[in-house]
């Protein structure tokens, strides 16, 4: 159970930390104050608490489709925020105005909501069993440590690159993230019978299983699935391609604004 806690929490933290890592890197590159990021974390903690404590109320909604609809709504909203943020940045480097602040706060807040609430639900499942609770809590702390360490490593890697390269990598990772979120929406809607079920387009589980460490890492970072349906593939590729196209057709940002993080 100790190892299970490490794996579950590390995966959840990595999933939400990717957004935070990309955003903080972009904020630093554009020399914006990091206070908005902290507000985003606070919003995420509040939303995660609200969602986690009301999941039993949400579950039976809409003929037991409440969870799925809530998750898809959060994912679609996040994709919208990513597109809005990148459009704003490609128009010219992000400036600190009210809309930018809200985009940063909401994107970090919503990226934390589902994953952190799941960690809360997981640890809460052991609250009545003191012997197991300690293991679950300790495993969760170590798992969170692994996730946060990877995010910090990612952040420093991104901010040590040349500004132009770093911005391109951030855009590309945001595009993959958007594609992954849309692909997951398709899977969740299919689970709720709101989209037609399909057979897997391919099966790469023998090459890279979702249960392996590298598979779990890819699931957490890019929503890797060994058996995606064609609809999921279309959503992933279409979403990612659309975001990349948006960042390419707009005027290129001035990347000579400032260097970051001495």
């Amino acid at each position: 159970m100790f190892l299970n806690a490490i794996v579950i929490v590390a995966r959840e933290v990595i999933e939400s930390a990717l957004v935070a890592c990309l955003l903080i890197a972009l904020v630093c590159i554009r020399a914006l104050p990091c206070r908005r990021v902290l507000w985003g974390f606070s919003l995420g903690a509040v939303l995660a608490t609200l969602y986690g404590s009301s999941v039993d109320i949400i579950t039976p909604w809409l003929d037991y489709r409440g969870q799925e609809v809530a998750i898809v709504a959060v994912h679609i909203f996040m994709v919208g925020l990513i597109i809005a943020l990148l459009l704003k940045d490609t128009k010219g480097p992000l400036q600190l105005d009210r809309s930018t602040s809200w985009l940063i706060i909401l994107l970090i807040g919503f990226s934390l909501t589902l994953e952190i609430s799941e960690i809360g639900i997981y640890v809460g499942a052991y609250s009545g069993k003191p012997d197991q609770f300690t293991s679950a809590l300790l495993g969760s702390v170590i798992g969170a440590g692994i996730g946060i360490s990877l995010a910090v490593l990612g952040f420093y890697t991104l901010t040590r690159l040349r500004v132009e390269t770093s911005v391109r990598v951030i855009y590309a990772l945001f595009a993959l993230l958007a594609g992954g979120l849309l692909s997951q929406c398709v899977q969740i809607l299919s689970q709720a019978d709101l989209l037609p079920a399909q057979n897997p387009a391919w099966d790469t589980s023998s090459v890279l299983s979702e249960t392996s460490i590298s598979g779990q890492l890819l699931v957490a970072l890019f929503r890797y699935e060994a058996r995606p349906t064609w609809l999921q593939v279309l959503a992933y590729a279409g979403g990612a391609a659309f975001v990349i196209w948006l960042t390419m057709v707009r005027p290129k940002p001035s990347v000579s604004t400032q260097q970051h993080l001495e």
Partner: protein
């Protein structure tokens, strides 16, 4: 005699409303008790959509997860949830409870 247009619309509406009922998938139940799936083997027909009702009788939450079925859902304690699966080809599809994988294991056998 030409029938009124609204009659056609009513007919289409009836067909539209009746369609989900005609296509309603079969429902199967699984319980979670003491972090075990009961039954742990569920036999379902091939090539049919299934409405799987997972009833959690434990106080704690569990996460129903299956890589083969591509499904993942939190089942709150003392609560229940519905997961749609299939249509599936004949075969075995394992599932597990992510919060208690040592005990909560099961299989769906499609035949």
């Amino acid at each position: 005699m030409k029938e009124p247009l609204f009659m056609k619309w009513i007919l289409w509406l009836c067909i539209f409303l009746a369609f989900p009922a005609l296509a309603a998938p079969s429902e199967f139940n699984i319980r979670i008790e003491d972090h075990l799936f009961i039954p742990d083997v569920l036999r379902v027909p091939a090539n049919q959509k299934i409405r799987l009702r997972v009833i959690n009788r434990d106080n704690s939450s569990e996460e129903f997860e299956s890589y083969q079925l591509n499904r993942e859902k939190i089942i709150p304690g003392k609560s229940e949830a519905i997961i749609f699966i299939g249509p599936l080809a004949p075969g075995e599809y394992p599932f597990f409870g992510e919060f208690n994988p040592a005990t909560a294991q099961g299989r769906i056998i499609v035949e």
